[in-house]
């Protein structure tokens, strides 16, 4: 089932730009990645790194002010979504690709009972009445772990807790058996215990249905829990890619290394301050000439300031965009020795 040999989604040279009066902003700058059938890929990065723009580009729901370069391709089952007409795109949304959001509190319409909301994509895509969709809805509710689903159909969103609502959102997203689910920070707004439950629900459903998941997060704990493969984004570019085990064990890009070091640890927490990456994300209108991370990187040399590194193959299924990959590796070796 796993394996990227037959990608469901393939993003090639995705490059978006917003022309503003002060210059051109590139929220996503020339990124390429693919998601295989049944694969869970995590897209990691801080706020403003272009994660959500990437997700909305796939859904075709970016604001019209965001334009795409001509050679950008988002290929879903062999068809370029960026070239698709609105009508065709509508048939894919919610049917073949669906999405869940960060905030389940406001993602449900407060005026409709949940049963009707889950049935919405089924009604839209299969043209059946609510009465007929009901049976599917009850099954979905049971699948996402809602007890006594028949009697929950007429509940309103305000009668449910945050975790329950996120389950409803997942049920709604899965209503038409899509082949790709985009989860945009699905657990950020939830309690830690509920987070674990929601992640479990998603993982179980993934095993049952073989759906591919693109999970967008800044929580490395979620990544470790869920993902098969990780993409690290910084300033609209992918700076590192790899399978979750080798990336966590051996980060090749200084930014990834910094992110991993910034995770609070239980042991030794009282002795040391939490690690932070110095500096701030550069202004998207005044990106540095060389590597975007050069201003905050402790490994930066003259070359980093003048020349931007490309994303290159660095090992089996590993890619990184840094001039100092070798140095980092030797350091890794010295630490372990």
């Amino acid at each position: 089932m796993r394996g990227p040999n037959e990608p469901v989604l393939e993003v090639k040279n995705l490059c978006s730009y917003i022309p503003t009066s002060r210059g051109v902003i590139k929220p996503v700058n020339n990124i390429s990645f693919s998601i295989g059938a049944g694969e869970i890929v995590a897209l990691v990065g801080e706020s403003g790194s272009g994660k959500s723009v990437t997700a909305l580009s796939i859904m075709g729901l970016n604001s019209p002010s965001i334009k795409y370069e001509k050679d950008s391709v988002i290929s879903f089952k062999g068809e370029n979504l960026l070239k698709m007409k609105k009508r065709q795109m509508k048939k894919i949304r919610g049917n073949e690709i669906s999405m869940i959001f960060q905030d389940p509190m406001s993602s449900l319409n407060p005026l409709h009972p949940i049963g009707k909301q889950i049935a919405e994509p089924i009604q839209l895509h299969q043209g059946v009445s609510y009465q007929k969709a009901k049976e599917i809805v009850v099954n979905l509710l049971a699948k996402v772990g809602i007890p006594d689903p028949e009697n929950r159909l007429n509940d309103y969103p305000h009668q449910l807790s945050g975790g329950m609502r996120q389950r409803i959102m997942i049920a709604m997203a899965l209503a038409c058996n899509p082949s790709l689910l985009i989860a945009d920070e699905p657990t950020t707004a939830l309690d830690v215990t509920i987070q674990a439950q929601i992640l479990n629900v998603m993982r179980d459903l993934q095993k049952d249905t073989g759906i591919s998941i693109l999970i967008i997060t800044h929580d490395l704990g979620v990544v470790a829990e869920m993902a098969d493969r990780v993409l690290v984004m910084y300033c609209g570019e992918i700076v590192e890619e790899g399978d979750v085990y080798s990336l966590f064990k051996n980060p090749q890009h200084p930014y990834t290394k910094g992110l991993l070091a910034s995770v609070p640890k239980l042991r030794g927490a009282s002795e040391k301050l939490l690690h932070t990456i110095p500096g701030a994300v550069p202004n998207p209108l005044e990106l540095p000439k060389g590597c975007n991370f050069s201003g905050r990187c402790s490994y930066a040399t003259e070359k980093c300031l003048t020349e931007a590194p490309n994303l290159v193959e660095t090992g089996k299924d590993r890619r990184a965009a840094c001039w100092h990959i070798v140095d980092l590796q030797t350091e890794e070796v010295t630490v372990h020795a």
Partner: protein, 279 residues
């Protein structure tokens, strides 16, 4: 269940509740006025001209000997009709236009809103006079004119509310489910912007009664033999020193109806959104 809660809050607003009862009574009277009236409102009796109120003629008689009480009851019909038609037009024209304008935005929004601005730039009564002048003088045309005058306010309100609601995550979620603009506007936007529109409708209802009375007073509304409160005032004002009762009762009818409409609107606003303070 939410509806019951709303009714409970409305009940707690005593003034609004009394107003609601009065408006319901008015509705009842206007529906069955023809059967209730003690005398034919248009039957003249020149032997009993301009009598003060007494046991037979509760509100007295006018200069042609017609029973003022019967005429006030019949006048309720015109008032209620005007109120209903004048809010149905903006509800079915203004609100959809406002939602479309707010949801789609862009050039459609610009065009609709400039038309709305143009209509709003006229004084309401002048516009109503102009429209009835153009369509011909009758109660029906006066009601249409009032409806047209109210349409921009409803369009504005609906547009403003839509602009707020369209950014809600559940609208985004519906888009992601594959819903088109029409589906989203009908199923997600409209229900969520309905409460301020209902409140606006109740205020407009009382304002419509007032505008209809003004138009009839100016002779551009209901025409004889149709009875309207404004028309009665018009007849009465030349007799004000001879028989002030002729003016008192239709005037009171207008006053109380309009006040009831406004109090009801206020109470409804509080009942629908309890967070909103009473002004």
């Amino acid at each position: 269940m939410q509806f019951r809660l709303m009714f409970q809050r409305l009940f707690n607003e005593k003034l609004a509740f009394v107003s609601m009862i009065f408006l319901l009574l008015l509705l009842f009277l206007s529906l069955f006025a023809s059967w209730i009236v003690p005398f034919d409102p248009n039957k003249q009796d020149l032997t009993k001209v301009m009598l003060p109120p007494d046991g037979t003629y509760w509100f007295g008689t006018d200069e042609l000997g017609r029973d003022v009480f019967s005429r006030v009851l019949m006048g309720a019909q015109a008032a209620i009709q005007a109120g209903v038609v004048a809010i149905l037009i903006p509800l079915f024209v203004g609100v959809p236009l406002g939602i479309i304008s707010g949801y789609l935005g862009g050039i459609i929004d610009d065009i609709f809103m400039r038309i709305v601005d143009a209509i709003l730039s006229f004084p309401a009564i002048l516009l109503a006079l102009g429209i009835t002048g153009a369509l011909g003088v009758s109660l029906w045309n006066a009601m249409i004119a009032i409806g047209i005058i109210f349409t921009p306010q409803f369009a504005r309100l609906a547009r403003g509310q839509t602009l707020q609601v369209r950014r809600e995550p559940y609208v985004e979620a519906a888009k992601i489910s594959g819903a088109g603009p029409l589906w989203i506007m009908m199923k997600h936007i409209l229900p969520n912007i309905l409460s301020p529109i209902i409140v606006q409708a109740s205020f407009s209802f009382s304002l419509a009664i007032l505008v209809e009375a003004s138009l009839s007073f100016l002779g551009m509304g209901a025409q004889s033999p149709q009875v309207s409160w404004g028309g009665m005032l018009h007849q009465a004002y030349s007799m004000i020193f001879v028989n002030p009762y002729m003016m008192l009762f239709p005037g009171l009818a207008i006053l109380i109806s309009v006040l009831a409409g406004n109090f009801f609107g206020d109470g409804l606003r509080v009942a629908i959104d309890p967070k909103m303070k009473r002004s």
